[in-house]
């Protein structure tokens, strides 16, 4: 299991979002603009790397029976730190993401990855966290870029398609998010089938 192999797994073959359909809620809910997508992607990835490494370090010392509560404390603690940092340094972005920042604590990807890396090797857990985090971030940025461009004709708050473009507002709303994610997943499957 080389470092590069682990990274590639998270990014492509087992992409958490579009490959195995986990962590869907934040992906659809806040991916309305690229700025939000980058924000939630970075926040999720940093919690993921932190929780993976912490669980790799202390996981072996925890008996199986108390492992889930400890896991929850570790993840929720890291999320609280990220939340405080964002509130202080990026208040605008934090306000736009709303309850979806604290909700990272209930993200099934993070809990799942931290569970598997408990008691594993530190380097492998780091690579796994980075790969999964980058894969999630990449997928959510792609999704939010599509939704922002088609749904509002803008990208990163800058006008892109000109004043004559009639934006498909539905893509920015909740139903559009679900449909876009489904289609992006289908596209991803198509690439995977081609090899």
């Amino acid at each position: 299991m080389s470092f590069r192999h682990e990274l590639a797994k998270g990014l492509l073959r087992k992409n958490p979002l579009v490959g195995i359909a986990l962590g869907l809620c934040p992906a659809v809910a806040v991916s309305t603009t690229l700025r939000n997508g980058v924000g939630i992607g970075a926040a999720t990835a940093s919690v993921l790397v932190g929780s993976n490494m912490l669980m790799a370090l202390v996981g072996r010392a925890l008996p199986l029976k108390v492992r889930i509560p400890c896991l929850v404390i570790v993840v929720a603690g890291l999320v609280t730190i990220v939340d405080r940092v964002m509130t202080t340094y990026m208040p605008g972005l934090r306000a736009g993401l709303g309850i979806y920042v604290p909700l990272i604590a209930a993200n099934c990807i993070i809990l799942g990855r931290a569970w598997t890396s408990a008691g594993g090797g530190l380097a492998a857990s780091l690579a796994d966290g980075l790969g999964t985090g980058l894969g999630f971030g990449f997928a959510i940025c792609l999704l939010s870029a599509i939704r922002e461009v088609v749904g509002s004709g803008r990208l990163w708050d800058a006008a892109l398609l000109g004043p004559n473009y009639n934006p498909m507002l539905i893509l920015v709303l909740a139903p559009g998010g679900l449909i876009t994610l489904g289609l992006v997943m289908g596209l991803f499957n198509l690439f995977k089938q081609r090899g």
Binding site: C25, V72, L103, A105, P175, L178, I179, G182, M185, G186
Partner: protein, 195 residues
């Protein structure tokens, strides 16, 4: 207590701001969830009970522990611990009450993935500073909304399994698109404001 306001909170949580279709929480159990309407109904009702109980418990923890100690920032951590405990209680109760039920739900995994919807409802309760009664009603109504969507989407899934779906869209992608269409239909409720 104003009954009209309670009713409007309930109707809004079930139809207008549906926890799944508008707030996009708890998508993982919807997309990866059950294949039969009967087991979907069971799962939906269990999640609804957990949401109601969690709304009450997190209200208690928030107003009796976090506010007096001025550690409101730790709400994510405290709520997650409460919810994980409640989900565990629900799993154990289900296993005791009926062996069939816990077998249908596949060892309680769907319940765990519903964590994010439960945490989301609890966070909305404190964000809108609901009192105990309103929070409980909101939790129960959000749970009913979740059960409603789970049953609707599972019914659609039963039909789609017999239909010729393009290879790349099979599984999660087509379910996401279907959920998106249901969400589109639910947008029609957005004019429904009861004050």
């Amino acid at each position: 207590m104003d009954l009209g306001r309670l009713a409007s909170v309930a109707v809004a949580a079930i139809l207008v701001n549906n926890v799944v279709l508008a707030r996009l929480l708890g998508l993982c159990p919807i997309v990866g969830g059950s294949r039969q309407v009967t087991s979907a109904l069971g799962l939906g009702l269990v999640v609804g009970c957990v949401m109601t109980a969690a709304s009450m418990a997190t209200f208690g923890v928030y107003s009796a522990v976090l506010v007096p100690l001025h550690i409101e920032f730790a709400e994510t951590l405290a709520f997650m611990l409460v919810i994980v405990g409640l989900v565990r209680v629900a799993e154990v109760t289900m296993a005791k009450v009926s062996r069939g039920a816990s077998r249908v739900f596949g060892g309680g995994l769907p319940l765990v993935t519903a964590n994010c919807a439960v945490l989301g409802v609890a966070l909305i309760n404190t964000e809108k500073s609901y009192d105990l009664l309103t929070a409980t009603v909101h939790g129960a109504a959000a749970g009913l909304g979740f059960a409603l969507v789970l049953v609707l989407v599972t019914g659609l899934r039963e039909r789609i399994e017999l239909s010729p779906v393009p290879e790349a869209l099979k599984g999660a992608p087509v379910i996401l698109v279907l959920t998106g269409l249901v969400a589109l239909a639910f947008l029609g409720f957005s004019g429904l404001v009861i004050e």
